[in-house]
Amino acid sequence: MRHWPRGVLAAALASLFVLANAADAAEPPPGASSCSGCHGTVPNGTPIPVLRGRPALEIAGLMREFRSGAKPATVMGSIAKGFSDREIDSISQWVVGQSQ
């Protein structure tokens, strides 16, 4: 009998949670619903970019660059520092697909 490493168990549970959440696609992951307070869903001539329809990997990459300071920003650096890699990935996937 071998011990299951903690990480394996956590990963298994996590993937199940992801599946459970996927069943309710309209519900944003924690943090994601704040994005639309500034980022519109249609271009309206403002300088704050629309996120919908862009590749999730691009958004996640930008968030990591904001977080590390590699890409300078006004507010996005301070916001990105509040999120882990996993959270950034789920938020990015959600915001690029949202309709509202």
Partner: protein
């Protein structure tokens, strides 16, 4: 170890069962009813998000006003940069999204029977109630300041006729006049707004009545984004704005509307234009519903913003005690959407996920001079606290290009936030 493994298998089985059963539960919530009281940035966003996430839920928004007059950017109306009409938003899009809009006031809540009584005497049943009524001005907190006094010394802390009144008084003031703004102790709606207002008024005075002054009488010794504001004042309005903190006698103890006088512990300040930002509390329906405590504000759990005093009732926005999160439109909007997600979960028998909330707030010291403060919040020790290492303000030594950029972002943010909530 065997025992450990079987416990794990049980957990997995339970989770799998929950996943498989979820669609049936979602269908069963078809009859669920949510009533939202208050159509501001929190309530309107919550009603709309509920309908988007779970169209089967019956959502009623109780709001007596036909249009909403937004506070963000209303300081620009006072400065003469915007028309009050640009602050007005209708509920038509929210109604088109499938939300039943009841153009009435809520007068009572029965938390046991789960009903809300409306001003026409009818009763709305609910499974979950959201109260997002904003603030009431506390007419008993500052001697001399009541509703009649506000016609002489406007508060302009609820956007609308009061905003226009303050604008008119500034227009009528002679060059060389003194504008006095009194600031209450925290908490109050929008912590940096009195200082943004002083800046915007100074912008107007500098252009039109340059011998005039702005005097801020403060019940506090420090304020939000203080270094950014003070740097802006030094650069843009040297010697025009004077801030008197609590420790230097800034606390206003009474006012005399007949002479537009602010009385502090040791002094009297006669104003040509007097703007009283009075002490505030959660609006009346929160007190009636029993969700406000002795502070006058509403304590809530940080997960679904459910009242700690009345189960089944959620409180959002300025009326609620949200830990470190400021009372502001952007915060209320973020809370409204997070609350909607939590209510969808609760109605489906699921445990709501821990929310992660962002607040972003821009201030304009002049039309082309903006700066910002942001925060990221999560539940911690029973309240919403800032995520360590995240959040912050614009750099104090930012150049004019950065200030101009943030001013453009402020305007863009307002357009998106209002479109997302009402448009």
């Amino acid at each position: 170890m065997r025992k450990h493994l079987s416990a794990r298998r049980r957990t997995l089985l339970k989770l799998t069962a929950a996943t498989v059963l979820a669609p049936a539960v979602v269908r069963a919530q078809g009859a669920a009813k949510v009533v939202v009281v208050g159509g501001g940035f929190g309530g309107a966003a919550c009603a709309r998000a509920l309908k988007t996430m779970a169209p089967a839920i019956g959502v009623t928004l109780v709001e007596p006003n036909k249009t909403y007059t937004a506070c963000p950017f209303s300081n620009e109306v006072i400065a003469g940069l915007r028309d009050i009409k640009q602050q007005e938003f209708s509920y038509e899009a929210i109604a088109r999204a499938g939300v039943a809009v009841a153009p009435l006031s809520a007068t009572a809540v029965d938390a046991n029977a789960k009903t809300v009584t409306l001003s026409d005497g009818s009763k709305l049943p609910y499974d979950r109630l959201v109260i997002a009524p904003g603030i009431d001005l506390d007419w008993k907190a500052l001697p001399g300041y009541d509703e009649a006094a506000a016609e002489k010394m406007p508060h302009a802390w609820k956007a609308g006729p009061q905003t226009v009144l303050l604008r008119r008084q500034l227009e009528a003031m002679e060059d060389g006049g003194v504008v006095v703004i009194s600031v209450p102790a925290a908490p109050y709606r929008c912590p940096p707004a009195p200082y943004e207002r002083a800046s915007q008024i100074a912008w107007y005075l500098k252009a039109k009545k340059p011998r005039s002054k702005v005097l801020l009488l403060d019940s506090k010794d420090s304020f939000s984004q203080q270094r950014l504001f003070q740097a802006a004042w030094t650069k843009l309005y040297p010697d025009m704005i004077e801030w008197v903190p609590l420790s230097q006698g800034g606390n206003v103890t009474s006012v005399d509307p007949a002479t537009r006088t602010f009385n502090t512990d040791f002094d009297k300040h006669k104003a040509d234009v007097g703007n009283v930002v009075p002490p505030q509390k959660a609006a009346a329906i929160a007190q009636t519903a029993g969700v406000a405590d002795r502070t006058g504000w509403c304590p809530v759990s940080p997960i679904a913003f459910e009242s700690t005093l009345q189960p089944g009732i959620h409180v959002l926005g300025d009326a609620a005690l949200m830990g470190a999160m400021p009372k502001a439109a952007f915060s209320a909007n973020a809370q409204g959407k997070a609350c909607a997600a939590a209510i969808v979960d609760l109605l489906a028998g699921r445990t709501p996920a821990e929310p992660r909330l962002v607040s972003a707030c821009y201030n304009l010291a002049a039309p082309d001079y903006g700066f910002s403060i942001v925060g990221v919040y999560r539940p911690e020790k029973g309240q919403l606290l800032e995520v360590p290492g995240a959040g912050g303000t614009s750099p104090v030594d930012g150049d004019s290009a950065l200030r101009a950029k943030e001013a453009r972002y402020a305007e863009a943010g307002f357009r998106v936030l209002t479109a997302e909530t009402f448009g």
